[in-house]
Symmetry: C2
Subunit: 360 residues, 2 copies
Amino acid sequence: MKESLLLTPGPTNVPRRVLDATALPMIHHRTKEFQAILERVFSNLRKVYDTKNPVLMFAASGTGAMEGSLTNLFSKGDTLLSFTAGKWGERWHDIAKANGLDVQHIQRPYGEAFTAAEVAEALKANPGAKGVLMTLCETSTAVMHPVKEIAQVTQKSGALLLVDAISGLACDPLRTDEWGVDVVVCGSQKGLMLPPGLAFVSLNGRAQALMARSTLPKYYFNFTDTMKAIAKNDTPFTPAISLIRGCDVALQMLLEEGMENVWKRHADVAAWVRKEIVGMGLPLYSKAPTNGLTAIVMPEGSPSKNVINHMRDAHGVVMADGQGELQGKIVRFAHMGYACTLKDAKTGMNAFVDAMAVKK
Amino acid sequence: MKESLLLTPGPTNVPRRVLDATALPMIHHRTKEFQAILERVFSNLRKVYDTKNPVLMFAASGTGAMEGSLTNLFSKGDTLLSFTAGKWGERWHDIAKANGLDVQHIQRPYGEAFTAAEVAEALKANPGAKGVLMTLCETSTAVMHPVKEIAQVTQKSGALLLVDAISGLACDPLRTDEWGVDVVVCGSQKGLMLPPGLAFVSLNGRAQALMARSTLPKYYFNFTDTMKAIAKNDTPFTPAISLIRGCDVALQMLLEEGMENVWKRHADVAAWVRKEIVGMGLPLYSKAPTNGLTAIVMPEGSPSKNVINHMRDAHGVVMADGQGELQGKIVRFAHMGYACTLKDAKTGMNAFVDAMAVKK
């Protein structure tokens, strides 16, 4: 069985070196050997995040760390502003609502991006708001939000900026400390080139200060306990040892390349894919494209599913359909993580061109 | 670097076949290929649990599924009876408390086990109690609780029985349906012979009925959404694909052996280890020993740490110290999962005898 080329916006192909590290013989987590791995992982996570602050790690999907960010920083009745222009913005909103927070749902049509001015306006209208919920890469629409500019607004406000960078980190530029982003959530199976199962969250000083007053219940995702443990290169609960050993290798690979180069590689491949698609006469769905994936609007009578199935069956290339209301209408061609090279993008483009010719 | 023999009560050694399955090239989770894996995993989990009811699976440590069991079945103000005779019983209590439940802490000295009569008595004293929190194998003390007899009591009461079988499942006998155990929580890194990072929970009809009235907040561990997804061989959030592929192989290995045989293997090895230890003149800490591990009381002047370090350095055998107040006082010699064979136990025993001779 030939290995598929995963041009999906997560999970992405995992380097063999990383997979091999996940399959090393099991070791116990309360040992010097594993502590040394954790120390390196926590240190390298901070470099990838571009922060001096702690980056917490959980055995969970990214959604778990999003929920933990809300339950650890806020209290019942706190007002949050959720900026939604896609499925992952809705995820923030839904988690906040499920946890009894007063969440204002500020919506834009799918495919568009919020501006810093809109965030400033919303904060002016809700001066007591405690948090702004934003995505870096809105994977459902291939939109990147201007997090740098938005952070300039939130920094001067009483509201924290919480960014879902689950599929943005290590694809789109993100300078956590320099930009002043208070909370950044990530998952393992996208730009970090790992299998799914690990979730991460960074907390700056402003975020840590809010933790002390939060009254929402939490245990598994208790950030205070987690921070205490990681300060000793430990974890409160049995960690996902095998995935963390893979993480150790993947982070070293990213840092060997250098984050500037990683971002440039994604930007270059993304620009090439967009140029080819536009050259084919097909519209791009995103009004503010991310580096991580390209959303291609399908012509009338060409449902995404047919194109995607042909690419999978004839070429071993896997791309993703639209989600929710976009199902059948867009093809999401990812160039993310380890599968973000010009060579992989060309393989994907050949499969796509062939599928469009066959399925027209 | 030679592979260590992990005679720790989790993580345990993982079979090479299982590790190799976790390191297969990444596949996407919304595919027929992965759905077929999930279908087999969910079906085989039910066989290992000995239940016809759904077994939910999460990317998390076992503690996450314990917390989910409380937040999905109960509501603010509900009274729970937490039976604690060790660190893992305390874990139940602490999670319940952190989530605002009214938890009655019924305690016994470490090393002892609760009886069904004590549970009946406590339920009589707290007739409104909604749940009984119990461990199958209390890993901190090597105690097994009489879950079968306890379930006979709870079945006739208005209280659900929630059993932490994280290190008990596939070591100590457990007939979930036949005994009438309402909720059984498990983790991947013990009897199931997997790396840590997956958590499981079974829910019978009584438990499912309570879910509808629960008002505690939850999102990542929302059991209703999870049950809907698994009915379609899906998961609500990106699953830990690589660990699940390993789980697929490990469950098949257990079922090929047969659960009766798996339990018997654990019982036989446990009996051999206890006999040897008693033959050495050393007391067993547990008054009601589990199949999964043996807790050995160290003589005065022989701190566990010295013995454990010698076994690790001279023999590559890893055992665990006591936890909390038992640190330094007991050595926990596990015979759990893939490392539960007479050969492994003999290797462990040789290392232990040598360490005791050296360190006396």
